[in-house]
Amino acid sequence: MAEISRLIDAAAAGDRRAAGELLPLVYDELRAIAAARMAQERPGQTLDATALVHEAYLRLIGDQAFANRGHFFAAAAEAMRRILVDAARRKKRERHGGGRERVDLPDVPARDPDERLLALDEALTRLANEDELAAKVVELRQFAGQGHEAIAETLGITVYLARQKWTYARAWLRDAMTS
């Protein structure tokens, strides 16, 4: 716990290496919780990303006042995105792999939440090339359950800009994922 607080503080102070070290730590923790959760739950149930991130927060940071927790969420959002996308890929592989249970599906990729998630991930990567800030806003919102105010705080921007970026990014992504 002390280690992670130190890293977050260092990341907040602009230490890029600390930010880099933070991600695997948060990632491991999140993956452990997610795995435990998956084991408890019925198969096929989706994970509540927000709840997982918050649980990880409690476990890693505790309930103390923590000024720089935005950096935690930035790392957690990225980690959560990877975990969910990995899970979706794995499921997809299991379904389509080996042709064991090959079923002719009508072409409705938009109905499959995993496919949608993978499409979002891909679109988000493209958006990041064009507007990195907008992509960060989406990541924090979709994968760490952050509201506009918290996003603004994490990214050091105004709430107004966070809203604007979200409006733009949402339209951009929806367009990218449907066209």
């Binding site: 452990a32 990195e132 105010e149 107004y160 409006t167 929806r174």
Partner: protein, 1037 residues
């Protein structure tokens, strides 16, 4: 990262804000000017913008749902009439109008209603959740505050308006079932589970247009129903709007007509907070005649706050708010939140017309327009038909009001400000052009300095003892407040975290802690603190007066007007009322009350109450259940007042001044009335410190002319007093050498003739003796120990055998006094056979002055003697040829000019060191086997966790099991330092476990009752830690 919008983004955002297609097209024509590719791109984005998306539109919880125990957001609107929290249940004491309860979970009865819970309190009174046992349903009961109830016009108006509001039957109005006049005016309403709109907004921030319209429409419909019966609400504001927690989230207006009753009272009685004027209509602010259209203006303000998160008319003082309501146009909503649609802004603008004739003319009209918007939004998620939306041609220019009417309003406003301002420190006072001003309340003298950081940079460093504001741009800052050093931090922390702060890891507040302060658009103050009254001055004799005869600033009372000051006396108003002194808290000491009871009823004198926890009380007067003056009583919710120790004499004297004294030491309480002890009791459980308070029942007049406390240092375990402050009990003079010993004002004084005072007990061996003593310049005295009480010495005889009692003596004399060779602290050896070389030991320093109280300590352990003066060791020697291993203590007067005084003599007998017990090898072996098994189980659980087959909680449970065995083993092997460390680990781990369970509870996976078990486990672990620490300290030499 680039924050600058690209051209496509900027045009898209501008276009997305325009709801009607024609307007959008016009904007695109203008901004894309011939760039067909750009325009196509933006049109695609707009199409995507307007379409719903199952993945992207998942509702995301806001960060406010995160555990933020250390960053509480207190509600700034303290006048909530229907708040869901009760911050201080001290007032329950004063709920004396309730009859005895009819069921076990009830606090008491009012009429046919069993009160189950206090839901909240506001300017008007208290709201209870209650059970109607006739109709077998849960209801809300609102009781008019006694202070208002005694004002005849307010009372009449309350009853009249409440009765007429009972006539409104509408889905959007809280149904009033019944109105009663006795014992206090109260109304019975339907109980709505849910929250107020204020609480909702505090929780979520601004609402989207659809929700603003949905709620606004329902308020308008409720108002329409009320206006149809001729009733005006007069106080429409977010805290008077309830949002049902049911799936339909129905909105209900409450408190019809109550504002009027409160107004009447506040105009005639100063100091009563009537509520916030932020939602008032201009005609109300100016004190002009008003009609139902005033409610429509307030509805406009409520819609404004819903859409933007901030009330439309805000200013630094109540007076300035009133002025803005009357004269200024609020800042356009779209400047604050650009997403607010134009049509919504126009509706609110029309409601906000200063001239009632320019507003919508009826609530029905408003509800129709909003219903139309609601239907359109449902159909196509935006507004297509603007035909019912008003034009934005309302004059924005300020209208000049009739200024002279302001004078009357201003007087009240000033009173309100002084009451309200004391509650917020610091507060973001206003937002101007995207900048906030942080203001600090200066009425709390305990704050000395505030430092604001942005990252590591100091943005401002302000001395809080002079007026100060700090301009801030929106963003996140750290605020550090330096508090005066001797402030009672525990109490302050209590106020910051509230009653329900049951954390296992309590964050400690200290003046160097940094708190986060968020300044965001839409005003949200994260940091608030309450004013604490100044610390009363301690008189030189140790008595602290709690009542200054002038004001009640340091007191909290319930109800508000229960007590007042008359001619320097504190007087109850003849209604059932409690009052308690905020500071200082009372722990070990004496509390003295000089009081007079007039009339037949009774009162009490309460000690060490601490918020919900009751201390002890001294009953005053003759009660109807056999209670009488001098009884020790206590109070709890189940049984109310209960006698726990009866007075042994009838000491009540009505209509006369009497003195009640309560002495508390640890858990023991001794009561004296007029100097005569009436009762004593040792409590099983009583707060260590708490407030001093008074309670008077209805019908009685209780006068208080003096209330003071004197703290006594907490008694340390193992010490027993050798001098009782009254007489020479426990001592005897020597028949041949008596000396002159008297007790004067609690002080034991020794004068001529020369002689000795011996302790009756003669078996003091190893001990720690402590005396507070004073000697005159010409005096020579001493403190003897391990002395023989015999007849073989003569004090007058100088030199030779028998100069002093056989044993040891430590000298007590100022250097240079007659007959003194050695100064205070020197130890004389007086062996049985006089030996001129018997020897004495001189202190390292001899700095004891005449006529000053000093603390002299003697520690005798085996043959080693340590003498301390004022805590400093002056002599420490081991006698190679010991004279005695045990004996009497004695006090000496050597020369006729001696005056020696003792005000405290106490002793702690030291245990004779015994051999350490040896661990039992059998038990150790068994425990080691148990430990191995637990460790194996833990390893298995960890493996399962790594394989994702077990939750983390299971691993934690095994870790705790291992620690438990390790503690047992450490205990058996007498490794107490290890035991303490392990017990500390266990406490931390149990805390972790609770945190995890809390998450599971939050997610609805386990019932919240599981947390109780976790709390119990934490308490258990703490207890074990305390035990381990005790063992460790006892084991240390």
């Amino acid at each position: 990262m680039s924050a600058k919008p690209n051209p496509a983004e900027a045009i898209f955002l501008a276009a997305a804000d325009i709801a009607d297609p024609a307007g959008r097209a016009a904007l695109l024509d203008e901004r894309c000017a011939g760039d067909a590719e750009l325009r196509r791109r933006i049109e695609l984005l707009l199409k995507a913008h307007d379409a719903p998306d199952s993945l992207l539109d998942q509702p995301v919880p806001t960060a406010e749902e995160m555990p933020t125990r250390a960053m509480p957001v207190e509600q700034s609107d303290s006048t909530q009439a229907y708040g869901r929290t009760v911050e201080d249940d001290e007032e329950l004491d004063a709920l004396a109008f309730l009859a005895p309860p009819g069921r076990p979970d009830s606090l008491g009865r009012i009429g046919q209603y069993d009160v189950l819970e206090v839901l909240g309190k506001g300017a008007f009174g208290i709201v209870f959740r209650a059970f109607d046992d006739k109709l077998q349903r849960v209801v809300a009961v609102k009781v008019l505050a006694p202070s208002l109830a005694t004002t005849s016009p307010a009372r009449k108006r309350f009853l009249r308006e409440a009765r007429s509001s009972a006539a409104i039957r509408h889905e959007n109005v809280v149904q009033v079932h019944d109105v009663h006049e006795q014992p206090l005016p109260h109304l019975v309403m339907e109980f709505i589970p849910g929250e107020t709109l204020q609480q909702r907004l505090d929780r979520t921030g601004p609402l989207d247009a659809a929700e603003v319209v949905r709620i606004g429409r329902q308020i308008a419909e409720g108002l329409a129903a009320a206006h149809a019966t001729g009733l005006i609400h007069r106080d429409i504001k977010p805290s008077n709007i309830l949002v049902d927690s049911g799936p339909a989230a129905t909105v209900k207006i409450t408190d019809f007509g109550l504002a009027r009753a409160a107004d009447d009272a506040s105009l005639t009685r100063s100091g009563v907070v009537a509520g916030t004027p932020m939602y008032m209509a201009p005609e109300q602010a100016k004190g002009e005649a008003l009609d139902h259209r005033a409610d429509l203006f307030s509805l406009g303000s409520v819609m404004y706050v819903m859409a933007t998160g901030r009330p439309p008319f805000r200013a630094s003082s109540t007076f300035a708010v009133l002025k803005r309501v009357a004269e200024d146009a609020p800042r356009p909503m779209r400047e604050i939140i650009p997403e607010v649609p134009e049509w919504l802004a126009r509706i609110v603008e029309k409601l906000h017309a200063k001239d009632a004739d320019e507003r919508f003319q009826s609530a029905r009209e408003v509800s129709d327009v909003l219903a139309d918007c609601e239907a359109q939004l449902k159909a196509s998620s935006k507004l297509m038909d603007y035909s019912r939306i008003p034009n934005s041609e309302i004059r924005r220019s300020a209208r000049i009001g009739r200024k002279w009417k302001w004078v009357a309003v201003a007087v009240i406003a000033v009173v309100l400000v002084s009451v309200a301002a004391a509650r917020l420190i610091p507060s973001v006072s206003r937002f101007i052009d995207n900048r906030a001003e942080l203001a600090f309340d200066l009425s709390d003298p305990d704050f000395e300095r505030a430092i604001v950081y942005s990252g590591e940079d100091v943005v401002a460093d302000v001395d809080l003892r002079t007026p100060a504001t700090i301009p801030l741009v929106p963003g996140s800052f750290k605020l550090e407040v330096r508090i005066r050093e001797n402030r009672d931090l525990q109490e302050w922390q209590y106020n910051r975290y509230g009653l329900n702060h049951g954390s296992s890891a309590e964050p400690l507040l200290n003046s160097n802690t940094t708190y986060r302060l968020d300044v965001v658009r839409g005003e949200r103050v994260v940091y608030t603190a309450k004013l604490k009254p100044p610390v009363p001055v301690v008189a030189s004799d140790g008595w602290v007066s709690l009542f200054n005869g002038k004001d009640l600033n340091n007191w909290e009372q319930f109800p508000a007007d229960g007590w007042k000051i008359e001619n320097g006396l504190l007087v109850s108003n003849g209604i059932s009322s409690s009052i308690s002194c905020r500071k200082p808290l009372f722990g070990d000491g004496i509390c003295r009350l000089e009081y007079k009871l007039v009339g037949k009823a009774t009162g009490s004198f309460n000690l060490r109450s601490w918020k919900s926890k009751r201390g002890g009380a001294v009953f005053l007067g003759i009660g109807n259940k056999g209670e009488k003056t001098g009884d020790i009583t206590t109070w709890d919710q189940q049984s109310g007042t209960r006698i726990i120790a009866q007075a042994n004499a009838d000491v009540h004297r009505g209509d006369e001044w009497q003195v009640a004294e309560a002495m508390l030491r640890g858990n023991e309480m001794i009561v004296k009335i007029d100097g005569v002890e009436t009762a004593r009791h040792t409590f099983a459980d009583i707060p260590a410190r708490g407030n001093v308070g008074l309670h008077a029942t209805a019908g009685v007049k209780m006068y208080v002319r003096k209330l003071e406390i004197k703290e006594l240092p907490a008694e340390e375990p193992g010490w027993s007093p050798l001098f009782n402050g009254k007489d020479l009990t426990g001592w005897k003079t020597h028949p041949e050498q008596p000396g002159g010993w008297t007790v004067e004002n609690g002080v034991l004084v020794g004068r001529k003739p020369s002689g000795y005072l011996f302790s009756e007990r003669g078996d003091y061996g190893d001990f720690h003796l402590r005396a507070e003593v004073k000697i005159n310049a010409a005096g020579n005295s001493g403190l003897g120990f391990r002395s023989e009480y015999g007849f073989n010495f003569d004090i007058r005889q100088k030199g030779g055998n028998g100069f002093c009692p056989i044993g040891y003596e430590t000298e007590l004399a100022v250097k240079g006094a007659a007959g003194t060779t050695f100064p205070t602290g020197s130890v004389y050896r007086n062996p049985r056979v006089w030996d001129p070389k018997a020897g004495s030991v001189r202190p390292k320093s001899d700095e004891v002055k005449a006529d000053q109280w000093i603390t002299l300590e003697v520690i005798a352990r085996g043959d080693r003697f340590t003498i301390l003066v004022d805590g400093k060791t002056v002599v420490d020697f081991t006698d190679p040829t010991p004279i005695a291993r045990a004996g009497h203590l004695n006090l000496q007067v050597l020369t006729p000019t001696t005056v020696v005084q003792f005000r405290k003599i106490e002793i702690k007998e030291l245990p004779v060191a015994t051999a350490q017990p040896v661990p039992d090898p059998e038990i150790v072996k068994a425990l080691e086997a148990k430990l191995a098994a637990a460790e194996t189980a833990l390893a298995k659980a960890e493996a399962r966790f790594r394989a994702a087959a077990a939750p983390k909680t299971e691993v934690l449970a095994h870790e705790l099991a291992v620690i438990d065995v390790k503690i047992e083993l450490a205990d058996e092997q007498k490794r107490y330092a290890d035991m303490v460390k392990l017990a500390e680990q266990a406490v931390t781990k149990h805390g972790d476990q609770r945190d995890m369970l809390a998450v599971l509870v939050k997610l609805g996976r386990i019932p919240s009752s599981d947390l109780n078990r976790a709390d119990a486990a934490i308490a258990d672990a703490k207890l074990r830690l305390a035990k381990a620490k005790k063992k460790l300290s006892e084991a240390k030499p």
